[in-house]
Symmetry: none
Subunit: 182 residues, 2 copies
DNA sequence: CAGTATTGTTCTGTATATGGAACAGCGCGA
DNA sequence: TCGCGCTGTTCCATATACAGAACAATACTG
């Protein structure tokens, strides 16, 4: 297998567990999995079995595919910028929604030309500060704040200050316009 | 594990293999997996390892999540409400961010008691209309709009009108307060 | 400060998943 | 009828994932 696929899944496992506020021991006992197994698994030092994966996903209340990081692995769009597609759904009425997890290195900047009409982007900053929006009308957003813009004009986002930016970027395209990360 | 989860995955495996017109032996050798292992695996008499699953999925040219039985495992939190965790990350500074894909049946309503201080929730509606926010101060949002609230007070969201609501819910918790979907 | 949880780690014997060999059931050509 | 190539199955020795215990390192509590 990919040498670090186990590591990736372990990291996701740990992240989800901690996000739930669970200790390693409690999750292990809830999932009826050995504490040691879970520890080594989170550290990527194991090649888990389908049964243990199911058990852990079940105890976390998460579909197993969530733990299987393999959704379009970290796509690097520009230097200093990483975007990971979390989900892309197409509603029956044709609108598509893409959800990205975005990482901007300090100072990184991304600009994009206009998309089709009606495309709306939401940038929800979870760490650091950023400037985002249509070119010339950017606004500044910090953790827990969202910038929204219509991307039918040139637009972009950039990291402010000296710390990296983590954000959730959602792109909603009304009809058949394919969304691009940015 | 669920007794038939292995059987389900085995069936899918066999189906995709045959759809590719591959014999058991050729797939086994391409994936560098024992013939016997693959046979028993397809018959549901095995509890495969992540590495063998990856190897087989890779040789079939299929994302692993395709082979997993639980496609689109929607977690049902309340009747008429489905939430699927897309991602849960914990930043080094301790803040955790959870991103959910949310589905509300027409008229469905969800209320939640107060979480710890500093928790911020963002509800980005991608389809339908919803009312969301702190109890008594809800706002109405439609496609492409976001409702934001501090969830240190009772809060909730509900679908308006006669169509279902699709949304992206992001919960940002500053310290170690475990986030709950809602 | 000790005393006591509670954390996550490393260790160990056992169960089992693994690759490969041996096996059986075909179709086909001579 | 053989023989040969193919199919997929069952068997076996070995590697390893497993549960749990024993451990260490960090908190609370008196």
């Amino acid at each position: 297998m990919e040498p670090d696929a186990a590591a990736a899944i372990g990291a996701r496992l740990r992240a989800t567990r901690q996000a739930r506020g669970l200790s390693l021991g409690t999750l292990a006992s809830r999932a009826r999995v050995g504490k040691g197994s879970l520890s080594e698994l989170e550290n990527g030092a194991r090649n888990p079995t389908l049964s243990t994966l199911y058990a852990l996903a079940g105890a976390l209340g998460v579909p197993l595919s969530t733990l299987l990081a393999e959704r379009g692995g970290a796509e690097v769009t520009s230097p200093g910028i990483g975007a990971r597609l979390l989900d892309a759904t197409r509603h029956p009425d044709g609108t598509t929604v893409e959800v990205y997890l975005l990482h901007l290195d300090p100072g990184a900047r991304h600009v994009s030309t206009a998309h089709g009409p009606g495309v709306v982007e939401h940038l929800l900053v979870t760490h650091g500060r950023a400037r985002a929006g249509v070119t010339g009308r950017e606004i500044e957003v910090g953790p827990g704040q969202t910038a929204v813009w219509q991307s039918d004009a040139d637009h972009g986002y950039q990291a402010l200050g000296r710390s990296a930016v983590e954000a959730v970027l959602t792109i909603r395209s009304p009809s058949r316009e394919p969304g691009q990360a940015g």
